[in-house]
């Protein structure tokens, strides 16, 4: 008989969606360190989430969303050295409208 007490699926689910209070979250987290089986459950949750995102019909972003996104990646944030031709030029980026 195993002495391990697994968190129930409802608890794992609440952990996965970030709904647990800190103490309980820590308990589940500690259990997960030791339990490949429960880690597999989390992995399955993630796979389901990915498949659901894949199948989701999008809601239109605002008109300026792509411009904003392209402007935001211009801001230097520890970007690695880049040897290609993308030196700060937004002009050549094709827009999908």
């Amino acid at each position: 008989m195993s002495a391990v007490h697994h968190p129930g699926e409802d608890l794992l689910w609440d952990y996965f969606r970030g709904a647990l209070a800190p103490g309980l979250r820590l308990s589940v987290s500690t259990h997960l360190d030791l339990c490949p089986n429960c880690r597999d459950d989390l992995r399955a949750f993630t796979a389901i989430g990915g498949a659901m995102l894949e199948a989701t019909e999008g809601v239109a972003m605002s008109d300026s969303a792509l411009d904003l996104a392209l402007a935001r990646i211009e801001r230097p944030v520890e970007l690695p050295q880049c040897a290609c031709a993308c030196t700060g030029q937004a002009a050549g980026v094709p827009r999908r409208l």
Binding site: G8, E9, D10, W13, D14, Y15, F16, R17, G18, A19, P22, R25, L26, S29, L32, D33, R39, D40, D41, L42, R43, A44, F45, T46, A47, I48, G49, G50, A51, M52, L53, E54, A55, T56, E57, G58, V59, A60, M61, S62, A65, L66, L68, A69, L70, R72, I73, V77, L79, P80, C82, C84, C86, A90, G92, V93, P94, R95, R96
Partner: protein
Amino acid sequence: MHFDRALTIGSSVRMISPDQKNCAETPEALITRIAGTRDRAAYAALFTSFAPRIKAFVMGQGMTAQEAEDLAQEALLNVWRKAHMFDASKASAVTWIYSIARNLRIDAARKAKRVRELPEDLWQGDGDKAADEQIVDTQSAQAVARLLDGLPPEQKDILRLSFYEDLSQSDIAKTLSIPLGTVKSRLRLAMTRLRTAMDGKRTGVKS
């Protein structure tokens, strides 16, 4: 109170069949191009494909349109910055992106809550096991989607309410007016089926 199941379940998020999409380039290839050459055209294509879906997804979970728009922006920005960490052998692109968006949504919810009621240090440093590096899913999202499609309707309902509406299992039980034990057993059946398929396909798990 009466719930019309047909109207209630998953009503806020519409689904499209996987066959409807015919991307010229896979998202995995786009992320690889971003990682390799900071390819801005690849980023634009990825953004156009995923930002609307992320927005829809988190709106279904209760975010306002503006919050959802901001989160979608933030998620894609993270994809740009973390593209070099993406490993196609471990996760499909959509699963990786889902995970990024999910973490951002949890962070946003905790931040809002923290301000109200909790000391900040309690929230830090306990290591979220569902974080990016934990994902090892060698199945394509399409394969998982097909698998989910094959589940009995009552199991699909549980998954939709779980993921799209972000409900706890007891809230799902209330919503469907069924016992909590039934919710648990349906989820268990769906998970068992999915895990069996995943285990069968797994090629390697890091220890």
